[in-house]
């Protein structure tokens, strides 16, 4: 298969590879895909107090187009608010990277990954306040 220039560039010089502390309150982690399907993406975002994505990291098991899609989306989400990042569409990724039809699912996965990371962050933010009370209730139930 012949690859587009941008896919090759992201594959050879992937942006923002790495990992963040997934237990940190200001980090959201999205893990999507399945090894059996041939692609798994892990996308992490670090969110500032005012809801801006300060940093993003990824790791991807998948073909060149999957790696490029995740690399590209980490570039795009940095500096965006959660709502803005959530509105990134897979078609934008596919178009930017000139993905052939058979590789569109890679861009879908990248969109899923950022959505999952945002959902994870929001879930944490919602439960941080309630967690102390929950723990007390759980302990009481255990006794």
């Amino acid at each position: 298969m012949a690859y587009g220039e941008k896919v090759i560039d992201h594959y050879e010089n992937p942006r923002n590879i790495g990992a963040m502390d997934k237990s940190a309150a200001n980090v959201g982690t999205g893990l999507v895909g399945a090894p059996a399907c041939g692609d798994v993406m892990k996308l992490q975002i670090q969110v500032s107090a005012d809801g801006i994505i300060e940093d993003a990291k990824f790791k991807t098991f998948g073909c060149g187009s999957a790696i490029a899609s995740s690399s590209l989306i980490t570039e795009w989400v940095k500096g965006k608010s959660l709502d803005e990042a959530e509105n990134i569409k897979n078609t934008q990724i596919a178009q930017h990277l000139a993905l052939p039809p058979v590789k569109i699912h890679c861009s879908v996965l990248a969109e899923d990954a950022i959505k999952a990371a945002i959902a994870d962050f929001r879930g944490k933010a919602a439960t941080v306040g309630g967690r102390a009370a929950q723990n007390v209730a759980a302990e009481a139930a255990a006794e």
């Binding site: 298969m1 990992a19 399945a34 059996a36 399907c37 991807t60 098991f61």
Partner: protein, 411 residues
């Protein structure tokens, strides 16, 4: 690798010898006169142009026959192994269908055998697709049980194209004789590479291909046993050439080239096999020494060493191929095909889908050099390490996470 060694390599490196091989220069030279000087129709009986072409074709036929221990009268030229496989299966099944309407084959056979079988199923034949063991080899007892008195033909590939394992053809032949079924083998990947003897192996029909053994593309052969006689219904009707089994004017230059390739393969098989085994071990040892979690698919011993199918755990095959763009290989990964399904051959071995996605087939052939092997090792190691660093699966495994314990999303 030193800069000096690198200079001696011409890129890209070809490591896909199961797909095809370059035509040997000696073969090309042997073919050339038959395009222009000796251009006659080998079936023309009335003049010397035809006689000369016929003599060349018959000489080629004898050379091909010799390679597999057959008589020249038992060798029919075809357009290649796909046609030979179709002719063997459909030809035999249709000829004997009043008495026998069953076929036995393996799920790891080449697509053309499986597809021919599917078509025969539509015609009403019953086909048994036998599984293989984890090492890729058929279980002989299961094979014996699958053959009934209604079985017309059993088809088993000698050397598997994807994983290189060698089936025990002589034992399979013995079972087929006992059970009264004909044995066909697709030997496209075996002929000219490992010793073959249709009598010793009790093979009744054998498909071989020119371009897999340094001969030209567009020509192959089907061996059809005469004693006891195997009969078949032709697929291509016409002037009755090839003893009525395959009509059409023979392509004299291709036949000559195929014959020359068979002759060279027979003469040089010992030396070739030894070199290829040495290069194969060099490659595998270096990879295994430098990379953990690499699995060789298919039996370790019972294989043609020029075919190494490796799974690089936690690294998707296509992304690895993308990194080693100056090395031509094939992948068992889904992503190279439009289907997105991982290799059915690897799945048949019980290889997990995730591992099937990480597999690459390396072919070592007659022209392969030590420098090419070493360059390939360097490239593979470098890219597997890089891709593992960016693999979430590798990261999880390093953290002690059991990947099977994760509930993965479907997509």
């Amino acid at each position: 690798m030193s800069a000096e060694a690198k200079k001696n390599i011409r890129l890209p490196i070809y490591m896909d010898y199961q797909a095809t091989t370059p035509t040997d220069e000696r073969v090309v030279q042997a073919m050339l006169p038959y395009f222009t000087e000796v251009f006659g129709n080998p079936h023309s009986r009335s003049h010397s142009f035809g006689w000369e072409a016929e003599a060349a074709v018959e000489d080629a036929r004898a050379k091909v026959a010799k390679l597999i221990g057959a008589s020249p009268k038992e060798v029919i030229f075809t357009s290649g192994a796909t046609e030979s496989n179709n002719l063997a299966l459909k030809g035999v099944a249709r000829f004997y269908k009043d008495r026998k309407d069953e076929i036995v084959t393996l799920i790891t056979e080449h697509k053309c055998v499986l597809d021919a079988c599917r078509h025969l199923e539509e015609e009403g034949f019953k086909v048994t697709y036998l599984p293989v063991q984890q090492n890729g080899i058929v279980d002989l007892e299961r094979l014996r049980e699958a053959i009934t008195e209604r079985t017309a033909i059993v088809s088993v590939m000698t050397v598997n194209n994807e994983i290189g394992v060698i089936q025990p053809m002589a034992e399979i032949g013995t079972i087929c004789r006992e059970k009264g079924a004909f044995l066909h083998t697709d030997a496209a990947q075996a002929a000219g590479k490992i010793p073959l003897d249709v009598d010793a192996m009790h093979i009744d029909l054998m498909s071989i291909s020119g371009h897999k053994m340094y001969g030209p593309k567009g020509i192959g052969a089907l061996y059809v046993r005469r004693k006891p006689r195997v009969r078949l219904q032709a697929l291509i009707n016409g002037g009755g050439q090839e003893r009525g089994m395959r009509s059409g004017t023979l392509p004299t230059p291709l036949c000559v080239g195929f014959g020359k390739a068979a002759e060279i393969a027979g003469d040089e098989m010992g030396a070739d096999a030894e070199r290829i085994r040495m290069l194969s071990e060099r490659f595998l040892d270096a990879i295994n020494t430098r990379l953990p979690d690499v699995v060789l698919n298919g039996d370790r011993e019972r294989r043609y060493p020029g075919n190494l199918n490796l799974s690089f755990s936690y690294v998707e095959g296509e992304s690895l191929m993308m990194g080693m763009r100056d090395i031509a290989v094939s992948s068992g990964s889904a992503c190279t095909s439009a289907s997105l399904e991982p290799s059915y051959v690897l799945r048949a071995l019980g290889v997990d889908e995730e591992m099937a996605h990480t597999s690459i087939r390396f072919g070592i052939g007659r022209p392969t050099t030590e420098a090419e092997v070493d360059y390939t090792v360097e490239t593979v190691v470098k890219h597997v390490q890089k891709l593992r660093q960016m693999s979430p699966l590798w990261e999880m495994v390093q953290e002690g996470v059991d990947l099977k314990s994760i509930r993965w999303s479907d997509h």
